[in-house]
Symmetry: C2
Subunit: 300 residues, 2 copies
């Protein structure tokens, strides 16, 4: 049981973490901190947190675990504001969608105290956000990726992992660089591509006609283009190197397919389409099996 | 009431058309024709059609309306096989996803009898196909685009429109060229892009790791990459010119965004993302209003 959990940013991600810990009986007291007085008041009203405090000093006193669930570009500044109040007993983690930049910011902000920061990324979300979007079940059966630092004591990593497991998440580990390369390919690039398509169509003189005939395939393809522009600007810049690499590979792929199309090479196009369908079918089968809860350890 | 409707290809599209006409009491007799004896037997067993026949001559005798719901590349050959049995009373339509190529094939196959062919495209579908996927409600509230020919008598176009309206569809009209340009942008290009992304990822040495972390955003973005490779090969080639134009515009868009990303120009990226989200939000609001059934004409 964690005596005191502190959450910076009690919206969808932070609020759901709080609800899930409470439901699991894994935290005695949960304290919320945030920039928006309205959001913090709402988080308190919804029962996401037991109390809200304005000062980092008060928040950090006696904290076992701190989750930073704020836009990724703010992580360094938040960590710097916590450092003067950081006790030996406290472990900090985050929920940012990029990790190499967060690690760099954490080491800059915390110096040798970076041993107390265990970076993390819950692979869960929704188009909605804010305290009202929080639900206790958000992480059940979903992966949370931790990217521990060489200087993290094992017990600190275990504390963060146990908290996510109490929320129902399946904890995986990657290095920060592995993490960023993986998510550049399967998340950051698709977001950029979806934003690009909608902006491309919206900019055409006959955009109204085009949108009139867009149907369910277009709707699903562009669903992620309803995401927050500010958040995705920050993620794009934070993972600039890996994202550029994935974008260049994709541009090369499209250029190859353009040549197939221009040459009327139906067999080559069909080969790409068939390979994609085969890979996707295998994935949808495997992902369902992989997201089932793992066997429980008797010692737990 | 149509006395006799003939459907070439009684799968998802043709079978749902048959069920919907039956439910509306709009057809006395529905005859199925197809290349696969198993599929035709299943269509009969499921009650999608009243009878199945093997010969075009028998099928066409006394037909009021013929729907060709076969892969778009087969339309010309099917029309040619029907021509010797085409009575004056019969109107033929199709359900192909491209229209300029279908019109050209129809004029080649039918010659001056092309007046009896009214091209169409129901904007409805599903990832599943075959007779078992057919449902009477598939077209309810969905658009069907007709692209009438200059030589089509008004009454013929009206007969096809009335059949789709009996199925619950909202009938729109475009020229074949307009149709192909619109669907290149909002359907054919997104399909190519989704196939391209999955194939790109599947070809990387660490593909297994990547797929392991793909989540709901990726699943929705790539849902259309589960579509039939053969069907999308045919559509890509049939709409080659318009699709190349849309692909080139998209490549230019990505190249611009790549430069923003490489320059670390967060404001420019955020501008694209924000414009896309704004346009998509407006669209999702409008599409819901537009798909409500139109006011009924008193004369109907």
């Amino acid at each position: 049981m964690l005596e005191k959990v502190v959450i910076f940013g009690v919206g969808l991600i932070g609020g759901s973490f709080a609800l899930a810990l409470k439901r699991a009986g894994a935290a005695r007291s949960i304290v919320g901190v945030g920039r928006s007085p309205e959001a913090m008041a709402r988080a308190l009203e919804l029962g996401l947190v037991d109390s809200v405090v304005a000062s980092p000093a008060e928040a950090m006193r006696g904290a076992d675990l701190v989750l930073i669930a704020a836009p990724v570009a703010q992580t360094g500044a938040i960590l710097a504001s916590l450092l003067p109040h950081l006790e030996e007993r406290t472990v900090i983690t985050d929920a940012g969608s990029t990790k190499a930049d967060v690690v760099a910011a954490a080491r800059r902000a915390l110096g040798e105290r970076s041993a107390q920061f265990v970076p993390g990324h819950p692979i869960a979300g929704a188009e909605s956000n804010g305290p009202d979007a929080a639900v206790a079940s958000l992480y059940v059966g979903k992966k949370t990726v931790l990217t521990p630092l060489a200087e993290n004591p094992t017990a600190y990593v275990a504390r963060v992992a146990a908290a996510w497991e109490a929320c129902g998440a399946i904890v995986h580990r990657l290095t920060p660089a592995e993490h960023d390369k993986v998510f550049a390919a399967v998340s950051h690039l698709p977001h950029l591509l979806a934003f690009a398509l909608v902006d491309d169509i919206a900019g055409k003189p006959h955009a109204d006609l085009l949108f009139q005939y867009a149907a369910s395939g277009f709707r699903d393809f562009t669903r992620i283009a309803a995401s927050s522009p500010e958040m995705w600007r920050d993620i794009s810049l934070a993972n600039q190197g890996a994202l550029l690499g994935e974008l260049d590979a994709y541009l090369a792929q499209l250029t190859t397919m353009r040549a197939m199309l221009a040459a009327g090479d139906g067999a080559a196009l069909e080969g790409v389409y068939a390979n994609a369908r085969r890979a996707r079918r295998q994935w949808t089968g495997e992902i369902e099996a992989a997201e089932a809860p793992p066997p429980r350890n008797d010692a737990e």
